[in-house]
């Protein structure tokens, strides 16, 4: 089990690095998906090794997948809107919050 947890930790660290370094907003969203998947690996691994006969971990991972899909939908719509207004998807430029 420790290997699964180590894999998830590495994947989360890589995602964290991506979120902090990406300039492109779509790149930030992709790194975010990596972090979601790391959390999901943890959920499923804990369900397999410590969950007994229950399936709660897998169901939680299922809900995480659905919420991540919803987040990606809205996030990419916002990215398109940013692109339309600023002619670019550089997240560093979009630091003004008007109204």
């Amino acid at each position: 089990m420790v290997y699964y947890l180590a894999l998830a930790a590495l994947l989360f660290a890589i995602g964290l690095f991506g979120v902090m370094t990406r300039r492109n907003a779509i790149g930030i969203l992709m790194s975010l998906e990596l972090m979601f998947n790391a959390a999901n690996i943890n959920f499923v691994a804990f369900n397999q090794y410590l969950g007994g006969n229950g399936m709660a971990g897998q169901l939680f991972a299922l809900f995480v997948v659905v919420v991540a899909a919803a987040e990606a939908t809205v996030g990419l719509a916002i990215v398109l809107l940013i692109y339309r207004n600023w002619r670019g998807v550089d997240a560093d430029n979009v630091s003004i919050m008007k109204w």
């Binding site: 089990m1 420790v2 290997y3 699964y4 947890l5 180590a6 894999l7 930790a9 590495l10 994947l11 989360f12 660290a13 890589i14 995602g15 964290l16 690095f17 991506g18 902090m20 370094t21 990406r22 492109n24 779509i26 790149g27 969203l29 992709m30 790194s31 998906e33 990596l34 998947n37 999901n40 499923v44 369900n47 397999q48 090794y49 410590l50 969950g51 007994g52 006969n53 399936m55 897998q58 169901l59 991972a61 299922l62 809900f63 997948v65 659905v66 919420v67 991540a68 899909a69 919803a70 990606a72 939908t73 809205v74 990419l76 719509a77 990215v79 398109l80 809107l81 670019g88 560093d92």
Partner: protein
């Protein structure tokens, strides 16, 4: 569970190598379109890890939703903002060094904690064989409320995305 499958370590290593390599490609490649392709490889590898963990339904969901839907969505967005994807411009900002240091500390710390507190069981518990049926039953009984809430959230996200992306002109 692990003991009866002698090759599970090798398969796990293969999938782990695929996942880590493609994840590194996702965060380091210059061209954002190539990043999206690497992300697809990475998500498929995670689906393989789910199969190894006896979560077959979740693996199918991963392939359908992530590899099928979310990746298409991301590639669509990359192409709609494509004057950035074609040129090779700097994709990382100036705090890459600090961020790399922080991520390295996080990863190394997590691995160190895993090594120090070796309380994790070696063998898994026996899950029911009919995984899909059990999950379906649980979704319709014990997890009815989260299921409905998440479907309302999905509907709200859909409507929100349509309203956001529709633009000013009607």
């Amino acid at each position: 569970m692990e003991a009866v499958q002698p090759n599970v370590g090798f398969v796990f290593g293969l999938f782990a190598a695929i996942i880590i390599t493609s994840a590194l490609l996702v965060v380091t490649l210059k061209n954002i379109f190539h990043c999206a392709l690497a992300l697809i490889v990475c998500l498929t590898g995670v689906a393989g890890i789910f199969v190894l963990l006896h979560a077959e339904f979740l693996a199918a969901v991963q392939v359908l939703i992530y590899v099928g839907a979310v990746s298409v969505l991301i590639i669509f967005s990359v192409m709609l903002t494509s004057n950035l994807a074609s040129r090779r411009i700097v994709q990382t900002n100036q705090n890459a060094l600090v961020a790399g240091f922080a991520a390295l500390i996080f990863g190394a710390g997590a691995l160190l904690l895993l090594k120090l507190h070796d309380i994790w069981p070696k063998a898994g518990s026996a899950l029911p064989d009919d995984n899909v049926m059990t999950i379906g039953k649980l979704l319709m009984t014990d997890y009815m409320l989260p299921f409905e809430v998440v479907s309302v959230l999905m509907l709200a996200a859909m409507i929100g995305a349509i309203v956001l992306a529709r633009g000013e002109r009607s």
